[in-house]
Every structure is written in C-alpha cells, then in structure tokens.
Amino acid sequence: MAETTAKTAATTRESASRTAEKSRTSWITTQLENERVLGYVLLTPAFLLIIVFIAYPFALGTWMALTDKVVGQPGNFIGLANFAKLLDSDIFRTAAWNTVFFTVVATAIKAALGMWLAVLLNRKFSLSRVTRAAVLLPFIVPTVLSTLVWLWMLDGTFSVFNWILRWLWDMEISVFGLVIKEDFGYIRGPNWLGEPSWAMGSIIMANVWRGLPFFAISFLAALQTVPSELYDAADIDGASGWRKFWHVTLPMIKPVAIVVVVFSFVVTFADFQLVYVLTRGGPHNSTHLLATLAYQLSMHAGNLGEGAAAALFMVPLLFVVIVLQLTYLRRIGVD
C-alpha cells in the first residue's frame, strides 16, 4: 500500500514538473514569436560587442585626450591642452596634411585602377576564374609580410628597382650594328624611402597595390548585376564603349561604388602598419600619418593623453565623410 502511494506521488511530481517546464518553454516561444522581442534578442550580442569593443574604448580614448595621462599614472583633467599642444606642433600639422594627402590620392588611384581592372575581369577570356582569384592575392597576404617585401624592394641601398634601372641604363642595345640605345653610364636611381616626395609616392604605391583587389572585386560583383538588356539597348542606339560605361555602367553601380570608396577612405585614413614598417614616418616626418604619430606619442613617449588626442583628430573628418555618404545614399533611395 505504502509502496503504491509513493509511486503515485512520484508520478504526480514528475507530471507537475513536466507541465511547468512546458509552460516555461511555451512562454519563451510566445515571446520569441513577437518580432519586436526577437529583434532585440538578436541584436543584443552585436550591441554588447559594440559597447565593449568600440564604444568603451572610444569613450576612454576621448577621456584620456582631455587628461595629462601617462603610462602608469592616473591622469588629471586638462581640458583641451593636448589639442592645443598638437596644433602648435609642426610635426602634427605635417602628419595631418600627410594623412589627408595620402588618403585622397591613394583612394582615388585605387578607385580608378579598380574600376579599370573590374571592367577587364568582367570580360570572358580563358583562365578568367584563375585570374580573378590571383587578383586577390595582395589582399590575402598579411600586410606586415607584404610590406616587408616592399621594404626590401625599396631599400635605400639594395633596391631591386634601382638595380634593374641601372642595368637598363648602362646597357647598349644595337641591332645589326645600329645603336638603338646608348650606354648612358651610371645612374643611382630614386632614393625611394629617403627623399620626401619619393617616400610619399612609395607608401601610396604600396597601399594601392594592397588595396586594389578590394576595389576590383567589389566593382566586379557590382558589374555582374547590371542587366545585359541595358547594354543591348545602348548598342541599338549606337552608343560607344565609353558612353555605355558613362551612361549605363557607372549609374548602375554607383551605390556600391560609393560604399566601397567610403569604406576604403576610412581604412586608408587610419593606416598604420604600412608606414610603420616602411618609413616609421621618416624622412623628417614626410610620411608621418596621424595613426603613426599617435602610436609614437603613446607608446614611445608614454604620453597616452597626447596620443589619444592625435588619434581623435581623425574622427571629425571621417565623421563628415560618413555623413555625406549616408546622406547621398538616402537621397538616391538606397537604405
């Protein structure tokens, strides 16, 4: 008898527990079926990541920029003194100008060459898939590694470019005794990383080499979404290749192109590795960018406050660029 009662009680408890669990499950299911709730639930992880890895460091950096914080000591609030000190420094002004020049020129070249490359890759030719994959190689190789190769190629003494130039320069070319090119004697070749304008040109060249695949592949993807009927119609109207590009291709891929250009602009503006490996800002600050200056001030001089202020100078310009981009996209109806 007692045994039966115990069994009944156990069964009842089990059943109650199952019912409670079911009711909990159904409550969660009901809540998640509400799109509003589900939306917040799905957004939460991303939101937390943004808070921890973007918002908090940004807020901390902003605070530091307003203090005299140095490594190992708490900072005191000093208002805008760090910004004033930076603005008074020729090194900072040079770095700020270099950053703008480097970004604008490198992005423009990448956009132009990227478009040209994308149009070429969009054509059908043998080994087109292999070629498209190969184009991505500079983008895949770790930046520091590829930049070290550039460093060797542009070395002040052992530059391979200069060796080739010298070889060509002092080579006499003659056909059937007729001299086509004379031996011009010795030429040293450009001081790639040692002369300010060559150094700036060199870091732009390395940046373009690395960033070009991103433009080319993004533009290629956009080109493949353009309906072929538009080109057929243009052909019937007798449009030339250039007019087809200008009046059909470009308007069709404009939204993608703008996003790609702005994204690249932001990344190029904050470039660090390339300059740090190639020139470390030399010669005499002619390739210093805001990112390398901020690192130098924070890590080498230990002035975290001043370094943060140098880094923060990038924000307003990037903010303007992003606002312009979003406004434009909204105006042309892309959400």
């Binding site: 490594v71 020729d90 990383l193 020139t279 030399g282 005499h284 001030l297 230990g302």
Partner: protein, 436 residues
C-alpha cells in the same frame, strides 16, 4: 564484466568505478577549494618570476641567463620564466603591462624608459643600495633614477663607436680620424673610391639618434641647457649642422636617409660602405657567419672629437620591477643573483665587448685585450652621455628622442634646409615638448 563486490554486513554493494571517481573528485574539490580557499597550499607552491628581456644580439648571453636561471632555481627554489622578444617590441609590451596592471615581474627597460613608466614601477632602493649603486656609471644611474628614487637597476650599457674597414683605410693611406675635419677628409677620400661612409638619418631608435646627438654635443651644442631650458638654436649646433650638410654630400651614402638600425649592418657586411656608427654587433655577425674577409679587416675607433669634446651614446639597459608584481621579493632576489660578481663577470665576458659593465672594476677582464678589433669599446663608457644631456634625462628628453627632433633637424638640413632653418625648426618643436 566483473560484478562489484558486496559488503556482506550491510548488504550494500562496494564502490563502483564511477562512484570512486565521483568521490575522489569531491574529495579533491573539498581539499582544494574548501580547505585552502581556492589557492594551492603554500608548501606545494613554487614561486615563479617572469622575466621579460630582449633577444640579445649576442645569443650566448641569453643562453647564459637560462643557465643562471636553472642554478638559481636549485639554490633559491624560485623558478625563472625567462622570455625574450624583439628590442622594438619591449616598449609597447611594457606600456601595456604597466597600464593593465598585469604582466612580467621584471621588464628589461632601455634608455630612460624607467622615467616614462615611473608611476608604475616599484622603488628599488633596497637592492640598489645593497649592490653598490653609487659606483654605477652616471649615464646608467640617470637612466633609472627618477626624482632620486631608483625605479630600476642598471644592468649594462651598449657602446656605439665607429666600425671601419682597416684594409680600405690602409690602402688609401688614411689614419684613424681624431676630429670631425679628419673624419670628413677620410670619408671624402673613401667615397671617391667607391667606399662611402654609411649613416642612417631615418626614424630609427638606435643608430640615428646615437650619431646625431654625439655630433651635436661634440660641436658644443645641446637640445637643452643644464636647467632644462631649450638651447638647441646655438652657434655650436648650427656649426654641427653645417658640417653634416657638407659631409653628407662628400662622404656619406645617400640611401642612409631611409635606413633603419639594421641597414648599416647589412650595407657594411655587403661591402657597400666602409665606416659606420654601430655597436660591435657587425663584427660579431661577420665572425659568426665566417665572413672572414670582412671580420679580419675590421676595427673600431672612438667618435671624433670636436670643439666641445668627444662624446658617444651608450644605450643603458636595466631591470625594472613593476608595482603590480606580486613577486617583488623573489624578483629582487633574482636580480641580486644576476649581479653577483662571479655571475656578472661571466655575463659581461660572454658578450665580448658588446656590453659595457655598469660600474668600474672590470677593466682587467681578458676580453678587453683578447681581440684588438673590439678592445677600444673599453673606453666607450668614459665618453657616454644620455639623450637630453646636459639637462635632465627625464620625460622631455624621451619625448624629444621619440619624435626624432634632433635626427630630423640634421635630416632636413642635408635635404636642403639651411642650418638656421633646421635649428629654428628644432627649437620650436623642442619648446613644444619641454613647454619652455
């Protein structure tokens, strides 16, 4: 499968394997967490000191430190975790550790980095006094002493002198230059024969500031005066700049404007240059790689002297224990072990003139006379000064160095700026740094 035994008295089964595992885990957890509050018992703990250092250019020095660590572990029962990384990475690692409050128990700091991180470094007075701190060479003392408190223990310096090709000098009839005029004349002659002098004026931590500061001092110039007031725009500094402008054209390899600390080593070993300012490392690499035609024809000489005297920069190296370290006592014991006279003598000797002793007393070591190619390094300590000299070796000096202001002053001049323009530019930037 074997059945578990049955306890006949109670009628219960004996322990199954699963029950045994569970019970063992519970006992272990109880012992560890309950009885000792989550910390292993003291008698079972081994103290460990994490020592972060650079990859020494002379690898046997690191091997010897590992040997010391093994001996120390036996003697003191303290394990040493000796980690080495690239020289240029130490500063970022130190800054991150001190700012984050966690990391190595000892960090090898260069130059005056102890001044930069003073707020996060322990007071080393006890060990400093115990080990005859007052005997240490001034340029090393200044590197670690901040507001009269030692924030580190000097270990050694690295001398920088002029490395040169003895055969080239001999062939061209050049004797070792004693002053900058003779140095320029020698360089002009060598460059004309396809053997230029090589010197970096790029943004690089070692060779560029070492050369330019020494040059400026020897002409009587300096970035600040003894009280720390900016004094760079002087007649003496401008004379040094003028000398550099002339010498760059006549004697130096122009590629040096973009060189880093390793470029001149490579150029020297590739026989592209015949003279360069460096530590003894080029010579050791030549020996190591059996480039005997280079090594057998190499020598070093002191920096030339100018109207202001003869100077050079020797890079101070020291140990610093961060405040956050929970093993400060053990770390200090380890440092004292390394500085024990017998160990220290071995450590200096194994580096064969690359490292300069931190205090007088080791002048009689056989290494100073064993190899004439490097024996001159014995004198480097006498002429060594620190960045910022004759002013304080503090935060301002470090910031000026990290911004390469003196290096860039010379670099601007060799690329066309006049001595007046270059010195005026440096003066403005230094005032921005020093706030004067």
């Amino acid at each position: 499968m074997a059945k578990s035994p049955v306890d006949k008295a109670s009628g219960k089964k004996g322990l199954t394997r699963r029950e045994f595992t569970k019970s063992s885990a519970a006992v272990a957890a109880g012992t560890g967490l309950g009885l000792f509050g989550g910390v292993a018992p003291a008698f079972a703990q081994q103290r460990e000191v994490h020592h972060l250092a650079w990859n020494n250019f002379i690898p046997p020095a690191d091997e010897l430190t590992l040997e010391f660590a093994a001996t120390f572990e036996k003697e003191a029962g303290i394990k040493i975790r000796f980690e080495t990384i690239g020289q240029n990475d130490i500063q970022a690692r130190a800054a991150a550790a001190i700012e984050g409050g966690a990391g190595p128990d000892i960090i090898q700091l260069f130059w005056n980095h102890a001044h930069l991180y003073a707020g996060g470094l322990a007071d080393h007075s006890a060990i400093y006094e115990m080990d005859g701190g007052d005997q240490i060479y001034p340029y090393l003392q200044e590197a670690t002493t901040v507001d009269d408190v030692p924030r580190g223990i000097p270990y050694f310096g690295i001398g920088n002198l002029m490395a040169y090709r003895t055969d080239v000098y001999k062939d061209l009839g050049i004797s070792i230059p004693d002053n900058w005029d003779e140095f320029l004349a020698a360089g002009t002659k060598c460059k004309a024969e396809g053997w230029p002098f090589g010197q970096t004026l790029g943004h690089t931590l070692g060779d560029a500031p070492n050369f330019t500061y020494s040059l400026m001092w020897s002409f009587g110039g300096s970035e600040v005066d003894e009280s720390g007031q900016v004094a760079v725009n002087s007649e003496a500094t401008r004379a040094a700049i003028d000398w550099m402008k002339e010498a760059w054209e006549a004697a130096f390899e122009p590629g040096g404007l973009s060189w880093d600390d390793g470029s001149n080593n490579r150029a020297f070993l590739a026989e592209q240059i015949c003279t360069t300012s460096n530590a003894a490392s080029i010579y050791f690499v030549a020996r190591q790689k059996e480039m005997n035609h280079v090594a057998d024809n190499m020598g070093h000489y002191l920096y030339p002297q100018g109207p202001g005297g003869r100077f050079c920069v020797s890079v101070p190296q020291g140990f610093s224990i961060p405040k956050y370290s929970k093993n400060q006592e053990a770390a200090m014991e380890w440092i004292r072990f390394l500085l024990r006279p017998d160990n220290y003598e071995r450590y200096i000797s194994v580096q064969n003139c690359f490292a300069l002793p931190r205090a007088p007393g080791l002048e009689g070591l056989p290494m100073w006379t064993a190899d004439p190619a490097v024996s001159i390094f014995a004198e480097a300590g006498k002429y060594s000064r620190s960045y910022g000299w004759p002013g304080p070796f503090g935060r301002g000096a470090a910031e000026a160095q990290s911004k390469y202001i003196i290096v860039d002053m010379f670099a601007r001049a060799v690329q066309g700026a006049s001595a007046q323009e270059a010195a005026a530019w440096a003066e403005k930037e230094l005032k921005n740094v020093y706030g004067t």
